[in-house]
């Protein structure tokens, strides 16, 4: 009773889409950040599913690298967000608008 690989891929695509929508629609920096993490983990799921499909270990190894990179991003990202919160008491990205693109 194995679940076909394609189900995992669909789940991964859905998670990735949810993450992307979150980044595009939410305004709280922390939620944006969580959405990005969701996208990265969706990618991890895709890697594992594809590794299973090809019977290839490389895909699973890549996941470890991605996890480490995501951890590094968390460290830097949270530091940046906390630093902003200390001076402005808000992490809403709409309030962070001194510079106008």
């Amino acid at each position: 009773m194995s679940v076909p690989v394609v189900n995992y891929l669909v789940l991964s695509a859905v998670l990735f889409a949810v993450g992307t929508l979150g980044v595009l629609s939410r305004r709280n920096a922390l939620i944006l950040f969580m959405s990005i993490e969701l996208m990265l983990n969706a990618v991890n799921l895709a890697f594992i599913a594809f590794a299973r499909q090809w019977g290839d270990m490389a895909g699973q190894v890549i996941v470890f690298f991605v996890l480490v990179v995501a951890a590094a991003e968390v460290v830097v990202g949270l530091a940046i967000i906390i630093n902003i919160f200390r001076t402005r008491e808000t992490v809403d990205v709409d309030d962070v608008d001194r510079l106008r693109g």
Partner: protein, 504 residues
């Protein structure tokens, strides 16, 4: 690991070692000895530069197929290290004035350079991603380095959120290509792509598309450029200078590596999509730059516009495999772009006292007070505009010529490029106009007749010896490559040919 793996890694190891050493050394240095840090970083960069150029090259991928050390890697490494070295030279005194001359600053600059070098050397999509992250994460920190300054905080946050978002897109692209071909090795992907196009075209197209979007974000190509002006303006100027060069050069190095994997079947679509990106980027970058009065923003839009010219080379460089003239043009453009952009930002760095944002008005009469700095700025502006006898002219000339040779779509791109360059002449020469044609702030006698007792003396320029050397090297190189470009170009064509022949 074999001996030759270590040989190929030597420049990378030197940069890493220097970065870590600088970080630790900072703890043991007294405040007044902090100057050593910049000197030491520079020493490491020079050592890596020399090691890089003296090492033999290898045709096949090394370190278990993760990186290549071929002529292309060698050239890209040289460009990155040149950019890093110049950035350190220009920023040493500025960092001291801003109170950010700590070990972390140099460590992060070096690590970011390491990331760019990894990208240029990568023979595997995973390596490309790791290089991209090693390049970007230090840049997020650097952008927010003056952490009490609200503008810098905001620059860091914006750069981080959009950068991490684009990295995720890039990574999903890699996952899809892995799913289509069963490997992440660039060679393997190239071989598997034609058959994968038959079985799973969605995965291939989606994967390549997401890779393209991820890299376009890093290169600040329209419509993925929105972060660039804000981040460039908010970040400390020395960081902006480094970021404008390192992130862009890294992205285009990755473009060159990824370019080599798409098959002839995809060439036409690739040329069309990237071509449109180039057109949009050139149009928006140049038109918006015209109305900018803030110097850093102007240079930010200028750097967006230059991404457009570089994208032309990427678009037409795809006729089955790397095409030599387009790739050689792209490499030459990258080298020249590094020199002239760092030079232009370098002048802004030395003209900036303590973190204020310079406008065009602040450049008024600068050339009369500091003739050499003014002359250098004028030279960089003329080069960015692409006028002879500077290197910028030949950089554009080679890219446009390669485009014209590539067929009717290429001709169209070249025409748009020329029109965009003509627009750009206006805003670049306006800077030169402010430098020279406006008289210096009125001398005391004239001011008295106008009834204003004290006219402020002109803005000072903080020209340390190291910064002067940096500006001098950039200016002389821009002039030399403009007067005598053939030698460099002949070398680059050989590199492009060698890189092409190394492909399966």
């Amino acid at each position: 690991m074999e001996a030759r793996d270590f040989l190929a890694l030597t420049p990378l190891l030197i940069v890493t070692g220097t970065a870590l050493f600088v970080l630790v050394l900072d703890l043991f240095l007294r405040e007044e000895r902090r100057g050593w840090l910049s000197g030491l970083s520079l020493l490491g960069v020079v050592a890596a530069f020399l090691a890089n150029l003296s090492l033999p090259t290898f045709r096949e991928p090394l370190v278990q197929g993760m990186i290549r050390f071929d002529a292309l890697t060698q050239f890209l490494n040289a460009v990155f290290l040149l950019g890093c070295g110049l950035a350190v030279m220009l920023s040493a005194d500025y960092a001291r004035r801003q109170g950010m001359a700590r070990g972390e600053y140099y460590c992060l600059v070096l690590l970011s350079t390491l990331g760019a070098m990894l990208m240029g050397a990568s023979a595997d999509l995973l390596m490309l991603f790791l290089g991209l992250e090693t390049l970007s994460i230090p840049l997020y920190v650097l952008a927010t380095f003056t952490r009490r300054n609200p503008a810098s905080q905001e620059a860091g946050l914006k750069y981080f959120l959009l950068g991490a978002f684009s990295s995720a897109l890039f990574l999903y692209g890699i996952a899809l290509l892995y799913g289509a071909t069963g490997t992440t090795k660039l060679d393997g992907v190239l071989q598997g792509l034609s058959s994968a196009m038959g079985t799973a075209p969605g995965l291939v197209l989606g994967g390549l598309g997401l890779l393209l979007v991820g890299l376009a974000f890093k290169a600040a190509a329209v419509p993925f450029h929105t972060w660039a002006p804000d981040v460039y303006e908010g970040a400390p100027t020395s960081v902006t200078a480094f970021m404008a060069v390192a992130a862009k050069a890294g992205a285009f190095a990755a473009f060159l590596r990824v370019l080599a994997i798409s098959t002839p079947a995809l060439a036409e679509g690739w040329a069309l999509v990237v071509g449109w990106l180039a057109v949009l980027t050139m149009a928006l970058g140049n038109v918006v730059a015209v109305v900018q009065l803030n110097l850093k923003r102007l240079l930010a839009y200028s750097s967006i516009a230059h991404a457009g010219y570089l994208l032309i080379a990427v678009a037409v460089g795809q006729t089955g495999a790397l095409s030599e003239p387009a790739s050689a043009g792209l490499l030459f453009y990258l080298l020249v772009y590094t020199l002239m952009t760092l030079g232009a930002f370098g002048v802004v760095i030395v003209a900036e006292g303590r973190g204020e944002n310079l406008s065009l008005e602040d450049m008024k009469g600068l050339a009369w007070r500091y003739p050499w700095v003014g002359l250098a700025m004028a030279l960089f502006m003329v080069s960015l505009a692409g006028l002879p006898p500077t290197a910028g002219f030949f950089a554009k000339f080679y890219v446009f010529r390669a485009a014209v040779e590539a067929g009717s779509w290429g001709v169209l791109l070249a025409i748009v490029g020329v029109i965009a360059s003509v627009i750009s002449v206006f805003y670049y020469l306006r800077v030169v106009y402010y430098l020279y044609l406006r008289p210096a702030p009125a001398p005391v006698a004239a001011a008295a007749t106008e009834g204003e007792g004290e006219e402020e003396p002109g803005r000072p320029v903080y020209l340390s010896r190291l910064a002067a050397w940096g500006l001098g090297i950039a200016a002389v190189s821009v002039l030399f490559l403009g007067v005598y470009p053939t030698a460099a170009l002949r070398w680059l064509v050989e590199i492009a040919a060698a890189a092409m022949s190394a492909l399966p």
